[in-house]
Symmetry: C2
Subunit: 143 residues, 2 copies
């Protein structure tokens, strides 16, 4: 198993302030998809004085370092995904906007040569849309 976020950051000689540590800790061992605001709230529990600006700065750095993924799969604020280890896709509930990671089962089919328009393709993102069990259930009841 890959070392956790904090050890990876230490290994990179990342200047480790209490604020940064607290932000990183929000993500350890957790596969949630928090907004910056959500991260701020959780971070405040351990460090009440941490400012919103610092949370944003830190999140942006972690993204730039490749330690967090920025998700823009639902509108509203961006979400941050700590699951950078294995390639995965996202399953989004159109009703309550819950997001789940789903492992990428097989290689996604490449674009046919002819329609590639000369682009060099380096990655693929796949988002499945639908209804989570709760919302699907609620819908069928209210019909």
């Amino acid at each position: 198993m890959a070392p956790d976020l904090l050890s990876r950051l230490r290994a990179r000689n990342w200047r480790l302030s209490s604020q940064r540590r607290v932000v990183a800790e929000v993500f350890v061992g957790d596969h949630v998809h928090l907004t910056a605001e959500g991260v701020h709230q959780r971070a405040r529990k351990s460090l009440p004085e941490i400012s919103r600006a610092t949370v944003y700065n830190t999140l942006n750095e972690l993204v730039a370092m490749g330690e967090l993924l920025e998700l823009d799969v639902i509108d509203g604020p961006k979400r941050y995904d700590p699951n950078v280890g294995d390639e995965h896709d996202h399953l989004v509930c159109d009703s309550c906007h819950a997001i789940r990671d789903v492992p990428r089962s097989r290689k996604p089919s490449m674009i046919p040569e002819g329609t590639r328009a000369g682009y060099v393709v380096t990655g693929v993102e796949i988002t499945y849309r639908g209804l989570c069990p709760e919302c699907a259930e609620r819908r069928s009841r209210n019909r």
Copy 2:
């Protein structure tokens, strides 16, 4: 071939003001991916007094009617895609942010039953990331 946007709107008895017509006309026969601001600029060429608010209102209605697709594949302002007829994916240049539609070659692979977490899956979005020919060329030159 499917009737164009304007005829479809007429067929729906959409109350047709000059502003709305002008916004709709921006999209006819064109497969570009404009921002609201871009739509406003083009609309102004035919109707200089049209306001930003009206452009936003109109775009939102067209999206709600299913006559435009809202794209959030690059950060910054949303893009609007008039190509609602055929299922397609998007090819995005990571450098200049150009977007191209690509026809969906074959059915995307479904999520394996086991990892579906009880979701009812109703759609899939696929975004290919890479470099457009110009940016790829420029990069290899400046190396």
